[in-house]
């Protein structure tokens, strides 16, 4: 994130303790830059939705502050909320309203004058044009999800929150959603999404935040995260098992696994090893190799190891 540009979302010391005494958020500090796609990862109940709901005005924070485009979400809630669109996790829509009516309702609710052209274009972008006069209850789950996105975008927000946007969504809609997020980014809209499909964060996000038990345990550029925390391994499947790593192979820092059937080298950061020399050496030692694999850990593995470390 470029530190010279004022963040579009600025969170300082934000906490939430529910009346039951349950702590949903420990002090959270976070800056989100204008136009970035930020993915908030975390297991169920980690505090992702609480964080989003506080920023959007649905949950009152216990302490701390949040500004949206420079407006304090409590003292200047009108200006702050006018900038924000929210697609909540649950499919909560009216039933008897038409698609057209409900999207225009949202636009009015957020203080914008009617703009039929904009709403028509929005429905077209979301493949909802032919459903505009349909009652919401007659739509499929995927279509309802599209309606909720249309509602969230109805007032042309500059910041969009997508809470688990692709949970229970078919492949086509998921792809459309990803395209939508990219096109929003091109228009300068900041997108903050929560997900536990890590593949999604891997695909779309510029930066990733990991939240666990109400604590933001890591915020990092996705690329850096993959590079520093991702493990690369070279696995050599041996023709016949070894009982120990031969001392001649010491410089390559190999480990024996799979009952002596595999030799594994774990790449440390960016330092790569001379694989050709290793293979040559093994050949001179008459160690037969049946197969060779390299393996790079995904964001998912990184995430799982992070969360379990902080458990």
């Amino acid at each position: 994130m470029n530190p010279d540009i004022a963040p579009v979302i600025r969170i300082r010391g934000l906490t939430k303790r529910y009346a039951s005494g349950a702590v949903a958020l420990k002090p959270v500090d976070l800056d989100i830059a204008k136009g970035e796609i930020f993915a908030l990862l975390g297991p169920n109940g980690a505090g992702k939705s609480t964080l989003i709901n506080i920023i959007c005005g649905i949950v009152t924070p216990s302490s701390g502050s949040v500004t949206a485009d420079g407006h304090d979400i409590q003292r200047e809630y009108r200006a702050a909320r006018a900038k924000i669109g929210l697609v909540p996790q649950e499919l909560t829509t009216d039933s008897f309203e038409t698609v057209w009516a409900t999207v225009n309702f949202s636009r009015g609710l957020f203080g914008k004058p009617a703009n039929p052209d904009y709403v028509a274009r929005l429905l077209r972008d979301l493949s909802l044009s032919d459903k505009r006069n349909a009652r919401i209850m007659s739509l499929s789950g995927g279509m309802k999800r599209r309606v909720m996105i249309a509602k969230a975008l109805s007032h042309e927000p500059e910041i969009l929150f997508l809470d688990e946007p692709t949970a229970g969504v078919d492949v086509e809609l998921r792809r459309d959603m990803w395209n939508l997020v990219r096109s929003l980014r091109e228009r300068g809209v900041t997108v903050i999404l929560t997900t536990h499909y890590i593949e999604e964060a891997e695909e779309m996000a510029d930066r990733v935040g990991v939240i666990n038990k109400g604590e933001l345990i890591l915020v990092e550029e996705k690329r850096t995260l993959m590079k520093t925390l991702g493990k690369r391994q070279l696995v050599l499947h041996l023709a016949s098992p070894l009982s120990a790593v031969p001392p001649e192979l010491g410089p390559w820092r190999l480990e024996l696994s799979a009952g002596g059937h595999e030799l594994v080298h774990t790449v440390d950061g960016d330092r790569s090893i001379d694989v050709a020399a290793l293979l040559e050496r093994m050949s001179s030692l008459s160690i037969g190799i049946r197969d060779l694999q390299t393996h790079q850990s995904s964001l998912e593995e990184i995430f799982v190891s992070l969360v379990s470390r902080h458990a």
Binding site: I58, T67, G70, H71, Y77, L86, P88, T92, F105, K112
Partner: protein
Amino acid sequence: MSFPSPRAGSGKRLDFNHHGVWAIYRFEIARALRTLVQTLVTPAITTSLYFVVFGAAIGSRLDSLGGVGYGAFIVPGLMMLAIFSESMSNASFGIFFPKFTGTIYEVLSAPISYVEIVIAYVGAAATKSIVLGLTILATASLFVPVHILHPGWMIAFLLVNAVTFSLFGFILGLWATGWEQLQLIPMLVVTPLTFLGGAFYSISMLPPAWQTVSLFNPIVYLISGFRWSFYGTADVRVGLSLAFTLGFFAACLGVVALIFKTGYRLKN
């Protein structure tokens, strides 16, 4: 941010979200229009039935009350009965249903103040019940001669009572956590008090002991004042009626203000 944003403070410029209020108001009115039969035709038929039963069958055997025929006498009571129950059910349902389905998230995340939310929901509920009250008045005038002595006061009482019971309904809708609770107060408290509050009779017709008991029923004052605006006769002094009407209005307004100060049942 360490430096003031040039746009900081622009929140104060948007002082009233009239688009937002209008959106909710229209949504609520549209809900009534979808169920026009239930909203207007049903009460009109019910009123007609009251006149067939009380006006023609029973009323013809009763003496006039203070110079007013029984059929005409019950018109203000019937109107109030409808105003009370429709205001309450419209406003309570209006806010309870989005809470129940979860669509309230959108209202809570919108740049709209609590005052504006109340104006929109209560305004819509009051509008609907006033239209209904006037429908009943029009239906009634087909059966009995209705004349209104103080039309200005009649409108004023109608308006304040519609808004008051809409506010009351809004409170009920916020408070209720289930459908049963939503019905509880209207069915068990307000409807009995209304029936015992002189909607269909003058409390002077009761034995003295019960007349005294009736004076503890606040609804008596509301109905009596409204009836006075029609016929100039009342069970209690009209000043008292006015005081009770405004007092109840102020009380409901106060409770709503208190609820919003604490975010009760809306935010946690």
